[in-house]
Symmetry: C2
Subunit: 128 residues, 2 copies
């Protein structure tokens, strides 16, 4: 079991990971196109960032083709958990529950969403 204490993507890196999670393995051009809708970044800027991410192990690179194909090294859910737990530690004294309560309180939920959460709580309780 790896600790993953070193999974700390920067904001730009998160933006890139988001694209990779959504699109699956992608080239620099793919990512650049996807990001260009929201961000104003040069092509080589994205390239450089992705090269650095490969060095850091945030992404894996397949360079069999001329246009290298990058994929997120971590599953989205796992990465999300790391980031949630990081925030819990930084600003909620380590309590993920407090974090959850703030999240639920600050954004209106639809009745379906509320139901979904209750269902999840039931499961949690059952698993106990």
């Amino acid at each position: 079991m790896q600790s993953m204490a070193d999974f700390k993507p920067t904001n730009s890196e998160i933006a890139i990971l988001r694209v990779l999670w959504q699109r699956g393995p992608s080239t620099v051009r793919d990512v650049h196109s996807a990001l260009s809708h929201e961000r104003d970044m040069g092509y080589t800027t994205v390239l450089k960032l992705m090269q650095i991410m490969a060095e850091k192990g945030l992404v894996v690179r397949d360079d069999r083709e001329r246009a290298h194909v990058y994929a997120a090294a971590q599953a989205q859910a796992k990465a999300q958990d790391s980031l949630v737990s990081d925030l819990a530690n930084k600003v909620f004294g380590g309590s993920a529950m407090k974090l959850a309560m703030h999240a639920l309180n600050q954004q209106p939920c639809s009745p379906e969403e509320l139901k979904e959460i209750r269902r999840m709580l039931d499961e949690l309780e059952a698993k106990k």
Copy 2:
């Protein structure tokens, strides 16, 4: 009503805010002492950070005494909300509920905590 879209403390700044929220208005020495248990930071490093935070408006400074007294400019709950919403936007497509579900799933909750959450959900539903 201020938008607060610019409330983006860095990690060190969050560590300092945490102390100010916990202790209330504090001097640089207070904060440095509190942080020294977990971090290895020089006194003037903390001082400089807090001066910068005052410039940015993250803290307010009372300089009537020789040892200036700093206080967090935002209530803890408000700041927590900003950071939660920021994370939701960055990695959960803006959905605070998804964030909450990840938080609840990844850390075991006590029965009391589960009850507390259900109570909160009831309130949310009632308020609708």
